[in-house]
C-alpha cells in the first residue's frame, strides 16, 4: 500500500543539542503506528517536527513527505493550510490545545470555517454533529460550554472532535490517554479506533505505554535517545523483539496474564540520560547487557529476521 507520510532523516535541534538524531520512517496509508519512547527519547519532538509545530528556537532538518511535497520546505501559510485540515494533532493535555475563553462549539467549528470555508451557522451545525459523533452527552449544551466546564474525558473528546472535523489524512496523537483514568482511556482509544476506521485516516500514536500500542496499533516504532532502534509490525516487535532495549522494556513491565516466580521484575539498570548526555554510538549501550566495544559506533537500522532493528548484537542472533 502507498505511504501516506514519509519522514526522511529528521533531526531536531534544541539549543544546539540534537534531540532527534536522524529519524526515518514511513506511514502506510490507513495504518496505525505506535511510536514508543520514554522521556528524552525524542518522540514528542519528532511529532511536533513533522507537524511543523516546533516552538521558537527549536529547529528541524530533513524531509517530511506528504503527497509529493516536503512539508519542512513549505512556507508557514502553506503549512497552516494543511494543518488542521489534512494533518491534525491531539495532545496529552487538552487544556493546552483548547482555547480557555472560547466556547467548545466555536472551537470545533473553527477548522471547518477556515479550511472548508463554511459560514458560521453551517459550521456550528456540523460541529454539533461531530460532538455527537464523539459521544459527548448533551452535545447541544456542551456546544456552549467553556473547556473548564468539561471533565477530562469530555475535553479529550472535544479535542478529538476538533482534530477530526475536516477528516484529516494523518492524525498524530501524542499521549492522548496518559492523563486519563483507565476506564476513560479505554473509551477514548475505542473512539479513536472508530474514527480512524470510518475516515480512513492514518494514525501515529505516540506513547510510553506498550500495552496501549499493542491494543491500538498495527505497526510500531521504538525510539531511544533520539534514534529509532526497532520497527516492525506489533506482532513482530512485541512477540520477537530484536533490540535489547525493546526486549528489556517488555520484560520490565509487570505481567497481567502470567505468574512470575517471585516479586522481582527484570529491571533495566541505570536511568534515561538527559538531553545530549546519551553515550556516543548506540544510545542504549551503557544500560545494555550485550554491549561491547563495537557499540561505540552507532549501528544502522537493518533487517534482522522479519523486521528492522539498529543493533550490532540483536536479540536471538543474526538473521
Amino acid at each position: 500500500m502507498a505511504d501516506a507520510l514519509g519522514v526522511e532523516d529528521l533531526h531536531v535541534l534544541v539549543g544546539g543539542v540534537e534531540a532527534v538524531r536522524g529519524v526515518s520512517f514511513a506511514l502506510e496509508a490507513g495504518s496505525r503506528t505506535g511510536l514508543i519512547g520514554e522521556s528524552g527519547s525524542g518522540k514528542t519532538l519528532t511529532a511536533l517536527g513533522l507537524m511543523g509545530l516546533l516552538p521558537d528556537g527549536i529547529s528541524a532538518t530533513g524531509r517530511v513527505l506528504y503527497k509529493g511535497r516536503d512539508l519542512l520546505s513549505l512556507a508557514d501559510e502553506e503549512f497552516c493550510e494543511l494543518r488542521g485540515d489534512r494533518l491534525a494533532m491531539i495532545f496529552q493535555e487538552p487544556m493546552t490545545a483548547l482555547n480557555p475563553v472560547m466556547r467548545i462549539g466555536d472551537q470545533v467549528a473553527e477548522p471547518l470555517m477556515v479550511h472548508r470555508h463554511m459560514g458560521r451557522q453551517e459550521a456550528l451545525a456540523a460541529a454539533m454533529q461531530i460532538l455527537q459523533r464523539v459521544h459527548i452527552a448533551d452535545a447541544a449544551e456542551k456546544m456552549r460550554a467553556y473547556p473548564h466546564q468539561l471533565s477530562g474525558g469530555q475535553r479529550q473528546r472535544a479535542m478529538i472532535a476538533m482534530a477530526m472535523a475536516c477528516s484529516p489524512d494523518i492524525l498524530v496523537a501524542d499521549e492522548p490517554t496518559t492523563a486519563l483514568d483507565v476506564t476513560v482511556q479505554a473509551q477514548i482509544l475505542r473512539l479513536l479506533d472508530e474514527l480512524v476506521n470510518e475516515q480512513g485516516a492514518t494514525l501515529l500514536l505516540i506513547t510510553h505505554d506498550l500495552p496501549v500500542v499493542a491494543s491500538t496499533c498495527d505497526h510500531v516504532l521504538v525510539m531511544y535517545g533520539g534514534k529509532i532502534v526497532e520497527t516492525g509490525t506489533v506482532a513482530q516487535v512485541f512477540d520477537r523483539p530484536r533490540h535489547p532495549y525493546t526486549r528489556a522494556l517488555l520484560d520490565a513491565i509487570p505481567p497481567l496474564d502470567e505468574e512470575l516466580p517471585d516479586r522481582h521484575l527484570r529491571a533495566i539498570p541505570g536511568s534515561v540520560a538527559g538531553l545530549g548526555q546519551f553515550p556516543p554510538g548506540c544510545p542504549f549501550r551503557n544500560r545494555c547487557p550485550t554491549a561491547d566495544g563495537k557499540c561505540v559506533e552507532m549501528p544502522p537500522v537493518a533487517r534482522v529476521g522479519d523486521h528492522l532493528a539498529a543493533c550490532w548484537h540483536p536479540v536471538g542472533g543474526e538473521p
Binding site: 496505525r32 520514554e38 496501549v212 499493542a214 491494543s215 509487570p254 497481567l256 496474564d257 536511568s271
Partner: protein, 259 residues
C-alpha cells in the same frame, strides 16, 4: 496471615468535604470522599488500593496517615506512635524533595523533627545503602539525580524513622517505564528486609497485581470489592471491578489486523 497482628482497624469511616460555593447565597454542597469504609490491615500484608480519580483512595491514605480525621467511624492504629511508624512515599519525587536541601538533610529530616536518638551520620549511610544510592550522594542536591534516584531518596527518608507501615501513593507513576521495575524491586526488597507492611495506592492495576496480596477496589468513596489479589483478578464479582479490569490495555490483546 489471618493470625498476624492487626495494625490498622478502619471501622465505618466516612469523610466529607464541603465544596466551594457555586452561588453567593446558596448552601455549600458536600461531597462524600470516603463513604462508610471498613477494613483491617495486618502486619506483613501488602495491600493494594485501586480506584480512579475521585474514588476516595487518596483521602483514605490521608486518614491512615492521620492527616485527615473521619467525620464518622474510627481509624485505630495499634502501634505506639503513628507519626513515626507510618510513613509515605509520594508520586512525584521532584516536588516531594526540597531542592535547597542536601540529600543527607532530606533523609534525616524526620529523625530530626521527631528527635529520634542514634548516630545520624551512620544512619544516612545505612539508608543510602538500603536504597542503592552511593554514599557520596549525602552531600549532593536533589537536582543532581535522575527521577528514579530521587524516588530512592524519598524512600530513604520514609525509612529513616524505622516505620512499620510504608504507604506508597502512586510511587512509580511519574517514572520512566525502564526505571519503574527497579523501584518496584527495591520496594519489595525493603518490605522483606525491614519487615514492612505495605499499602500501595495505585491506578496501575498491573503494579498492584504484581506487588500486593490483597486489594481494595474503590469507587465513589466506597469499597466495592475486597479480597486476595489473585481471586479478584481472576474472577471479579463486582461490575465496576470487572469494567476496570476489562479496561486495562494488555500486551497480548492485539487489535485485529486491518490490512
Amino acid at each position: 496471615m489471618s493470625e498476624a497482628e492487626v495494625l490498622f482497624q478502619v471501622e465505618h469511616v466516612t469523610r466529607r468535604y464541603k465544596l466551594a460555593r457555586t452561588r453567593l447565597l446558596g448552601p455549600r454542597r458536600e461531597v462524600t470522599a470516603v463513604d462508610d469504609v471498613s477494613f483491617t490491615l495486618r502486619r506483613g500484608e501488602t495491600l493494594g488500593v485501586v480506584g480512579e480519580s475521585g474514588s476516595g483512595k487518596t483521602t483514605l491514605m490521608k486518614l491512615l496517615l492521620g492527616l485527615e480525621r473521619p467525620d464518622e467511624g474510627r481509624v485505630t492504629y495499634s502501634g505506639v506512635r503513628l507519626t513515626r511508624e507510618v510513613q509515605v512515599v509520594f508520586q512525584d519525587p521532584a516536588s516531594a524533595l526540597d531542592p535547597r536541601m542536601r540529600v543527607a538533610d532530606i533523609i534525616l529530616e524526620p529523625v530530626r523533627v521527631m528527635r529520634l536518638p542514634g548516630d545520624r551520620q551512620k544512619r544516612v549511610e545505612e539508608l543510602l545503602d538500603a536504597v542503592g544510592l552511593p554514599r557520596d550522594s549525602a552531600h549532593r542536591y536533589p537536582h543532581e539525580f535522575s527521577g528514579g534516584q530521587r524516588q530512592r531518596i524519598a524512600i530513604a527518608r520514609a525509612l529513616a524513622p524505622h516505620p512499620r507501615v510504608l504507604i506508597g501513593d502512586e510511587p512509580v507513576s511519574a517514572l520512566d517505564v525502564s526505571v519503574r521495575a527497579q523501584i518496584l524491586n527495591l520496594l519489595e526488597d525493603l518490605r522483606v528486609g525491614f519487615d514492612l507492611t505495605l499499602v500501595l495506592v495505585a491506578h496501575d492495576l498491573s503494579v498492584v497485581r504484581h506487588m500486593c496480596d490483597r486489594v481494595l477496589v474503590m469507587s465513589r468513596g466506597a469499597i466495592v470489592e475486597e479480597g486476595p489479589t489473585r481471586e479478584i483478578f481472576r474472577a471479579p464479582q463486582n461490575p465496576y471491578t470487572r469494567l476496570l479490569l476489562d479496561s486495562i490495555p494488555r500486551l497480548k490483546n492485539r487489535r485485529a489486523a486491518s490490512t
